[in-house]
């Protein structure tokens, strides 16, 4: 049996319709979109502009030239933050974000701190939701940017971005959101939601890897990160990846077309899995928000069972875990830790990322494996025995433990 893909937060397969429209631009239509002295270039330029329009339509941007093409959302996040910060004459000022952002935001924030900027993290609750009053309280006279994700890739929590945008605009601040996980599942509108900059990735919405975009509201100037021929309104030089932009555009078009129907289908599938887990397995914890969460995301901790060992038991399913044993850093998920989830619970977490190809039958088959393996692994778990004997695992005096550093 082919492995069932349930890791759609990491990436999604390229849609056949997307590949089809890209193909000519990988073969016969090889023109450079900047070389418009001939037909080749003009056709490439037209294809890029169409792609830009399709992206603009997905997010409600008023003008296609507000869409800056990038290599992906990591670059988009970097460009939004560094581009805006380094534009400031005195290279100082204050940025507000949250601790569960993607590393592209967190590491860029850290970089900017070293350059003399200051960064504050708005408090989040145990579901990952930002506290709007606390956020408002963090705003200082020198604050120039709030950057908060539209939805989280691990726990699926959807932030109140329209409210955050309104707060930013009340204070004449710019609001950037990394909307990578939300697009195609949540209706995002940059005008209605008071968004000034928004990061997009093609491969998270069934488009190709290596291409993304940054929406930049008209009138905002950014320092380019990549200098050169002055492409992309001078904000991002480099010959355009025409096939990539065409694919991004088509993926955006499909995401917009299918938003309502696919969200409803994914929600039903997700709830089938959630109800199955909660009704058939005891001692589980849902990580992330109970209701404000992405239609395709579930994140459960199965107490006393380590995440990687449970994934192994779910043979034939591609999943991911917040366990240290699946990360190169040997650290449990920083997102779960930021929610004050105890380490033992973080190590026991599994993320389920549903997508277009998943079916009820697959979910039912996965449930059988989960039920069987959680039971089997708990019978093997010394922590499960201790819990049944009434020993508190949190306060037990564990041995000094340094084998991770051997």
């Amino acid at each position: 049996m082919k492995t069932v893909y349930l890791d759609h937060h990491a990436t999604t397969p390229l849609d056949a319709e997307v590949l089809e429209v890209m193909m000519p631009y990988l073969t016969t239509e090889f023109g450079n979109a900047s070389s418009t002295t001939h037909d080749y270039g003009r056709r490439a330029r037209a294809a890029v502009e169409r792609g830009r329009e399709e992206v603009a339509a997905l997010i409600g941007a008023e003008q296609p030239d507000e869409i800056i093409i990038t290599s992906g959302a990591t670059e988009s996040d970097n460009l939004a933050m560094k581009g805006l910060a380094l534009q400031r004459a005195d290279h100082s000022g204050h940025i507000i974000t949250i601790a569960i952002e993607h590393k592209a935001i967190l590491d860029t924030a850290r970089f900017l701190e070293k350059q003399g900027f200051s960064v504050s993290f708005a408090p989040i609750d145990r579901y990952g939701l930002v506290d709007l009053e606390e956020l408002r309280g963090l705003i200082r006279p020198d604050t120039f940017l709030i950057t908060i994700q539209a939805a989280n890739s691990e726990i699926g929590t959807i932030q109140p971005i329209a409210e955050i945008g309104a707060i930013a605009h009340e204070h004449n601040l710019l609001f950037h959101t990394d909307a990578v996980q939300a697009l195609g599942k949540v209706d995002v509108d940059v005008v209605r939601d008071h968004i000034d900059m928004l990061s997009i990735s093609a491969h998270k919405i069934y488009g190709p890897k290596g291409v993304g975009a940054l929406y930049v509201r008209k009138g905002i100037r950014l320092q380019p990160l990549i200098h050169g021929g002055g492409h992309e309104m001078g904000m991002r030089s480099g010959t355009l990846n025409v096939a990539g932009v065409v694919g991004l555009g088509k993926a955006a078009l499909l995401a917009k077309r299918d938003l309502v129907s696919e969200s409803a289908r994914l929600t039903a599938l997700r709830d089938r899995l959630r109800q199955g887990i909660e009704s058939r397995i005891d001692l589980v914890q849902l990580n992330g928000h109970p209701t404000r969460r992405l239609a395709n995301n579930l994140n459960f901790s199965f107490s006393f069972v380590e995440g990687e060992s449970l994934m192994l038991g779910c043979r034939g399913f591609a999943l991911s875990s917040g366990s240290a044993c699946t990360s190169a850093s040997l650290q449990s998920s920083y997102v779960l830790r930021a929610l004050q989830v105890p380490d033992a619970i973080a190590h026991s977490s599994i993320r389920f990322g549903l997508g277009k190809s998943n079916t009820d039958e697959q979910i039912d088959a996965l449930l059988e494996l989960l039920v069987e393996n959680v039971k089997r692994l708990r019978e093997m778990s010394p922590l499960y025995d201790m819990a049944r004997e009434g020993i508190d695992i949190e306060s037990f005096s564990w041995s000094e433990h340094d084998h991770h550093n051997h």
């Binding site: 192994l312 999943l319 033992a344 084998h403 991770h404």
Partner: protein
């Protein structure tokens, strides 16, 4: 991630069909090592006769490598004298499983540590008697 690809057949066999799961009745020595906060805990219990380990059972909370090395170490110690058992290193356990991915080698330290802790526990108890 499809971790099955990272592990040898022996590791997967011990993960799927672990040997000697449980706790020895009235154990002569028990070692509990690891920490749930680090993602792995192993409890190893042994029965000792004439300074030889005649029975060893484990319970492990941990990844596939931790479970497989736990299972393997219970097989390796059976019939060994305590001094012989103390010579078993985490590398030897991993080798018996056909090797572990580099990043998982630290998981095998848990098995070695649990074995030492169980033998220590036995010797401490014996002294007290």
């Amino acid at each position: 991630m499809d971790a099955w690809d990272d592990y040898t057949e022996e590791v997967m066999d011990h993960y799927e069909h672990p040997r000697n799961v449980g706790v020895v009745d009235n154990p002569d020595g028990v070692g509990i090592v690891g920490n749930p906060a680090c993602g792995d805990v192993m409890k190893l219990s042994i029965r000792v006769e004439n300074d030889h380990i005649v029975e060893a059972k484990f319970k492990t909370f941990g990844c596939g490598a931790a479970i497989a090395t736990s299972s393997m170490v219970t097989e390796m110690v059976k019939g060994k004298s305590l001094d012989e058992a103390l010579q078993i290193s985490n590398k030897a356990v991993a080798q018996s499983l056909g090797g572990l991915p580099k990043i998982k080698m630290h998981c095998s330290v848990l098995a070695e540590d649990a074995l030492k802790a169980a033998i220590d526990d036995y010797r401490k108890k014996k002294k007290e008697k």
